[in-house]
């Protein structure tokens, strides 16, 4: 027993010291491992630079970065949400990148000072049952507050980052009063029963427990890839003449201001915005690569084929608190 303990201690010290001296890029990642690992692996294969992923929730990791300030070990920050990236810019946590490096990505998908850059975009769309016609009248996300959908609507809980970002877009395209009454209507429709994951909403619509749900587009295509015969369809909301269009959000990356390995960090960003890197994002998660000319997955509607809400991604950070205040005031579950 004693010897085992001593051996374990030695092991621990070894693990500890190897951590001190290793030359690795440390990435705080708020994305699912399975979506980011293929990109990292390709990068390491190409450059030989090792990358350690420190996975967690985007918001919690940003908070950590903020508390750590100059003592952070992180070199890069990856978030699944533009809101968090913009918050990081506000907190001055990131190192602005060279224009040359990121100009391949349209200006709408990066910070004004290039302190972060969007890598892949997703659309907030409706998943609708093809069996049950009761939700066919829905043309806009605002129709989700219609009392006809009582008990038939699936949404996530209100601390979901994609959900908050969506509401922020709608808030910017409308006004507070509209959003409040919309949220109140949805609250009545869902009762207290909300979902903790988007994938479960798609499942619930597919098996007939719900008629309609508000989700990110790739959850639907992912489900259809596994169950091609599932009785569900994608509806792009708010496409009529005066409608605001579909809400988009981007996942992106930033170089941490206090990183000690900026050169390697830049290499990783360069790889991620390169055509090869961008293609991987389209493949692993059926998202829209932010770099023009790199196509999205085949089944996903092309970005030119529908109207996207004209709200800059930076707004997702700047108006996040306003959105949270409204959500809390309404008491969304």
């Amino acid at each position: 027993m004693k010897r085992a303990i001593i051996a374990l201690f030695a092991l621990w010290m070894a693990a500890f010291s190897s951590q001190l001296f290793a030359e690795e890029l440390i990435v705080y990642s708020g994305r699912s491992d399975k979506f980011i690992k293929p990109v990292i692996k390709a990068f390491t294969k190409e450059t030989g630079i090792k990358v350690v992923l420190h996975t967690g929730s985007s918001t919690a990791l940003l908070n950590k970065l903020n508390l750590e300030a100059e003592r952070t070990k992180a070199d890069l920050y990856i978030s699944n949400d533009a809101g968090n990236l913009q918050k990081g810019t506000e907190f001055k946590l990131f190192q602005p990148m060279d224009d040359k490096m990121v100009k391949v990505i349209p200006a709408n998908f990066r910070a004004k000072d290039n302190s972060w850059v969007g890598l892949s975009a997703r659309a907030r769309v409706l998943v609708v049952s093809t069996k049950d016609k009761s939700a066919d009248f829905v043309k806009s996300v605002f129709d989700l507050a219609d009392p006809r959908l009582k008990g038939k609507l699936g949404i996530t809980h209100s601390s979901n980052e994609s959900y908050i970002a969506g509401v922020t877009v709608y808030l910017r395209a409308n006004n507070e009063k509209v959003i409040k009454s919309w949220l109140n209507g949805m609250k009545t429709n869902v009762g207290s029963s909300v979902f903790n994951k988007h994938s479960k909403i798609v499942k619930a619509v597919a098996n007939g427990r719900k008629s309609i749900g508000l989700v990110n587009h790739y959850y639907i295509y992912r489900h259809l890839a596994k169950h091609p015969d599932a009785p569900i369809k994608v509806v792009l909301p708010d496409q009529r003449k005066d409608d605001m269009g579909v809400a988009w959000n981007v996942a992106g990356v930033a170089i941490v201001k206090h990183s000690s390995k900026k050169k390697a960090a830049q290499q990783l960003v360069e790889f991620m915005v390169s055509e090869a890197g961008q293609k991987l994002f389209a493949e692993v998660n059926q998202e829209y690569p932010t770099r023009p000319g790199v196509p999205a997955a085949e089944k996903v509607p092309t970005r030119a084929s529908y109207k996207v809400a004209d709200v800059p991604m930076t707004d997702l950070g700047e108006y996040r608190s306003a959105t949270l205040d409204i959500i809390e005031a309404v008491g969304m579950p």
């Binding site: 303990i5 951590q19 908070n63 750590e68 809390e328």
Partner: protein, 528 residues
Amino acid sequence: MSSSLTVPRVSTRSVLSTLVVLLASVPLIYVFIHSGQLSLSQWSNLWSARLPGLLFNTLSLAILVAVGSFVLGVSSAWLITRREFIGRRLATWLMILPLTIPTYVFAHIYTSLTEREGWLGLLWAGIFGEDVPNPELYNVFGAAFVLSIAGFSYVFLLVSDALTRSRVDIEEAARLHGLTPRQVFWKVSLPMLRPAIAAGLALVVLHVLSDFGAVSMLRYQTFTLSIYLQMSGRFDLQAAAGLSLVLVALSLTFLILERFFRDRQRYYSAAQAQRTKRRAATKVELTFIWGWLGLITTFAFALPVAWMLVWTWEAWQQSLISEEFWGYVQNSLIISVAAATLATVAALPVALFHARLRNKISQGYLHMASIGFVLPGPVIALGILSFVLSMLPWIYGTMFVLLLAMLIRFLPLAVQAQEASVQQLSPSLEEAGRSLGATPWENLRRIVIPVLRTGLVSAWVLVFIDTLKELPATLLLRPTGFDTLPVRIWVEASEEMLELAAPSALMLMLGTLPVLWFLMRQHDAATK
């Protein structure tokens, strides 16, 4: 008891224990400082907007879990200690095995089992038809179910302990005076058990108040979850500290209750433990006993373990158990061994200090060392984080920060375990050593430690088990890239990768088993 040696003086143990206690109070100081920065209007805002809902949610959950654990814990303890039946030893084991499964694993497993496609979902549809929606766990009842099956073992342990030590003679006297067995149970046995039950329930409620994993997976807003969300979602550290302050007051109430009833329990148990006579169970009773205990075991252990096995097999088949997985196992072991050792050593001066002095100050130290019980993991983590960043920045980002958090979180366990055996160490024993020429160090090595062995070992084991399962502080404080099994369960569960969460959960359970076995053996030896 120790009137001869209560001269207060500056001794090594008083200095050391002061240091330990100061360290333990860091997170509490942090809470005071930050909540002190809240303005009056912010307080009234918190008070009106959040507190009523949170109080209601938290307390209703606590009450339901207390009821659930009472029913499960007391009934099983009674059957096992009062009847002799086939497989009684096994039954004891089955009732404590749920302790090897963390609450967030229970929550994760039961949410996937009750889905439409899950085993229980399919069973439900088979019985009631496809159209009847199956019950969901994302509410107070779901959370209460999960926390009851995860926590009733504490009540079981305390109550069965009390039952084996209880005064059978009083029950016999009651019988002789013509009470029926049922009357004896309600009028004599149960009242005598009250302190044990109350202590067990207070312990369960304390766990409910500080639980983070299960309530966050079930999205049931209690104080702890709300504090975590304030901190990590809104960057609102002051509001988080304000909520923590209220939670501390709440937990403190239950901690004091638990202490109070534990002391009462000592008073009730017989001085010379008279062996309880167990009556052989009749055939009917046997069916009932195993029916009931079997039902408990099915939900609290067998079903979750079956789930883990099935999905681990699936992961094995898809060769998903990679080298990285063994790295997580190693990380978990490293941190748990280190934390258990550190906490056991740190608790020693506090316990000894109390043994020597037994006055208000040492009692106060004992309470201060229990801060980890009343502060939830996220708050401890945050307190440590800002302490380290402002005072000891050079250790930031290393394992020591995480170790420090584990130490503060689980120090109360270590102190409590040692306190019991320290009571056997009478000051005269030490004095005898010293008068025979032993140096203080020799005294410690040759007298104190051997006497305290049992306490030290159980302190180590208890801290080891809890560190192995710890989630919220590890999430916030782990060095970069240092993922433990709980962290992986958390990550994989939030991505719905059942195949990946299962092997980690299984490893955690297997890792806890040998230490639990060791602890139980020691416990048995002590009660014999």
